[in-house]
């Protein structure tokens, strides 16, 4: 076995927490029971991993086997990844096609390999007619980087596919194409619904449109990246009281109400960001809150104009 492959095996197995080791290895089903019994699992982890890699060598493990192990590890740790959801929409007047998993896999792989010389594509079937696809990307001149693969999970009986990757963005159109070409009548469309990977398509969200609007506006204001860490913001308000309720409350009062409002939190901006989606704040958010990052200050004096 060449050194890079052995190293890849070593690093992949090393990632697996000891509490999951046996389960993962058994799911992988590449090393036999007898072989596993020869390993002393009470040694230091590095030594265990070394022994396992030697066993892999004995069995003439290939890159494909390593890729399978990587998929299994990722399946166990799916919650540690961030997944984007894609929905395929059918054009008008299309019939429901019969889906052939093997055909799909074969054409998917072909398309990618045709487009990129250096790419590793591996498949693993999973529950509910889904398939996990692992793609390691290379370039014209470089071999695929096995340490930064992309994952696509496609539930064949639904129009949804989930993707996760560190380097996916540039290859997105290509992936889209692989889906498209497989089924010429469908087109891939990104919908940032933020659904859970174990989504049950029977659950419907009632005010989906409103929720999406809120998410979109929140995202426009705060952006995608983590907020700067801020712990409090203070507003000194000297504004008149105006109310639609029962009219007349403090109607004759010329003087403003003198108020001091303080927001405090271990991570204030993240907390403010979550208010609209939680239904506690209206969108669009108040400019008094959204201007904190823009103005770069967190003490404000507000007066009536």
């Amino acid at each position: 076995m060449d050194e890079t492959l052995a190293e890849f095996f070593r690093r992949t197995i090393l990632k697996i927490p000891m509490t999951e080791m046996m389960t993962v290895l058994k799911t992988w089903n590449f090393l036999s029971e007898n072989q596993l019994q020869t390993v002393n699992f009470r040694q230091r982890k590095e030594s265990i991993v070394q022994d396992l890699v030697l066993l892999c060598e004995e069995n003439r493990a290939s890159l494909n086997d390593a890729a399978h192990l990587d998929i299994i590890y990722t399946q166990f740790h799916r919650h540690q990844k961030i997944w984007d959801v894609f929905q395929m929409s059918k054009g008008p007047g299309d019939d429901i096609d019969l889906f052939d998993m093997e055909q799909f896999k074969s054409s998917f792989k072909k398309i990618l390999q045709r487009a990129l010389k250096n790419v590793t594509v591996s498949f693993k079937d999973a529950e509910e007619n889904s398939v996990w696809i692992r793609i390691a990307w290379g370039t014209q001149y470089k071999k695929p980087n096995q340490y930064k693969p992309a994952y696509v999970v496609y539930y064949s009986q639904t129009p949804y596919a989930f993707t996760s990757s560190s380097q996916l963005k540039s290859n997105l159109p290509l992936l889209g194409q692989s889906f498209e070409t497989h089924n010429s009548t469908t087109s891939l469309q990104e919908r940032s619904l933020g659904l859970d990977i174990n989504m049950n398509s029977r659950i419907i969200h009632e005010n989906k449109v409103e929720k999406e609007r809120v998410q979109r506006v929140t995202q426009e204001i705060f952006g995608d990246y983590p907020q700067p860490r801020l712990e409090f913001a203070q507003y000194k308000l000297e504004t008149k009281f105006k109310s639609d309720l029962n009219g007349g409350i403090l109607a004759e009062r010329e003087e403003p109400l003198r108020c001091l409002v303080k927001f405090s939190s271990p991570h204030l901006l993240e907390a403010l960001k979550s208010l609209a989606p939680a239904g506690i704040a209206d969108v669009p958010l108040s400019p008094l809150l959204t201007c904190i990052p823009n103005k770069g200050k967190n003490y404000f004096k507000i007066r009536d104009k």
Binding site: F241, S243, R253, L260, V261, S265, A271, L275, A278, I280
Partner: protein
């Protein structure tokens, strides 16, 4: 030496679990009270209450006598009636409680009751802390520690204070027989460990039951309205509310302070019935505050949790903590708290 029965706490428990056990009733009566209490949150509170005025009784008593009870933070508990309690036995109670604490200390439990074994327990009556003549006298328990060092002149440090009172407790007084003394409101200042020890002694000696008194947002709003309604010559503190936002991944606290004169102006504009506070007025007062806040921040405070209100009269926290600032309305504040306590007991 006193013998202790099976309901005694075992020596190995730490303070927090002891406190928990202390409040879980063992006798059938206590268990019944527990289940009844869980239903009291659905009993509607009266739609109107009197605005606190200075109590008549209070004017006869020198307010300096209970000045030491002001400006302290008290943790609130409800207390069921005490069986065969007597105001004439204070000396004996002091001795018994002292012995009890010493015994607890011997077992290694009462490690917080002073650095040495030299403590003093004092029971005393709090004259004038009542609403009507029918209310039983309030009384005070203090644990003091005496310094052992001969060089220092024997200064006594107050380690723990607790007092029991009943202000306008008629509804409860009517339900109990003569053997019982009704002092449903208990206020403690000091460590939880000490409160647990002293509570255990009372529980065993008078077959009563303590329970922490939490104050929900509804009652906090009432307090805010009533205390804002109180006539004040001058304001010592700003009127402040604290909300805790439950939905954030990170906790968010919103503090909203309003100048007390402006709060009063708002209240006066809302207030219609002289001498009384009604539910509608409380709701409207709070709504005005919410809508003024919403106008600026687009945040619905009503969707968050009110945890603290603070005025020049008093401040209260939802965890059942109170601080009374104004001597004039001392009795008025206690009257409302007694009402909450009685509700919880009944």
């Amino acid at each position: 030496m006193d013998s202790y029965d099976a309901s005694k706490l075992t020596p190995r428990q730490d303070a927090s679990s002891r406190l928990k056990d202390f409040f879980i009733g063992a006798t059938p009566l206590q268990k019944r009270l527990e289940s009844v209490r869980k239903q009291t949150s659905f009993i509607p509170t009266p739609p109107r209450r009197k605005i606190p005025q200075g109590s008549q009784l209070q004017e006869d008593i020198d307010p300096q006598k209970f000045a030491f009870l002001l400006h302290e933070q008290w943790t609130l508990y409800t207390l069921t009636p005490l069986y065969k309690f007597s105001y004439t036995n204070f000396k004996e109670y002091s001795k018994l409680l002292n012995a009890f604490i010493a015994a607890e200390k011997q077992k290694g439990l009462a490690v917080e009751v002073g650095d040495d074994f030299n403590i003093k327990v004092i029971f005393s009556t709090l004259m004038g802390v009542k609403g009507t003549q029918r209310d039983p006298e309030a009384f005070l328990v203090q644990i003091l520690s005496k310094s052992q060092l001969p060089s220092e002149h024997k200064e006594e440090k107050v380690l723990w204070t607790g007092w029991f009172c009943c202000i306008f407790g008629d509804s409860l007084l009517e339900t109990v027989s003569e053997d019982f003394t009704c002092l449903p409101l208990f206020l403690a200042n000091g460590t939880e460990t000490n409160t647990a020890i002293i509570g255990t002694w009372f529980q065993k000696t008078f077959d009563c039951y303590f329970c922490p008194l939490a104050i929900n947002a509804f009652n906090l709003s009432w307090m805010a309205a009533m205390w804002t309604a109180c006539k004040m010559d001058h304001y010592m503190a700003t009127t402040e509310f604290l909300w805790s936002v439950p939905c954030s991944p990170h906790s968010l606290d919103i503090s909203y302070a309003i100048h007390p004169e402006d709060a009063k102006a708002l209240w006066d504009s809302v207030h219609k019935t002289p001498g009384e506070v009604t539910q509608e007025e409380v709701d409207l007062f709070m709504d005005c505050l919410y809508s003024h806040f919403h106008r600026h921040f687009k945040i619905h405070l009503s969707a968050t949790r009110l945890v603290r209100v603070s005025t020049s009269v008093a401040s209260a926290h939802t965890d059942g903590k109170i601080k009374i600032l104004c001597p004039k309305y001392f009795i008025g504040v206690l009257a409302y708290l007694t009402e909450l306590a009685v509700f919880q007991i009944e």
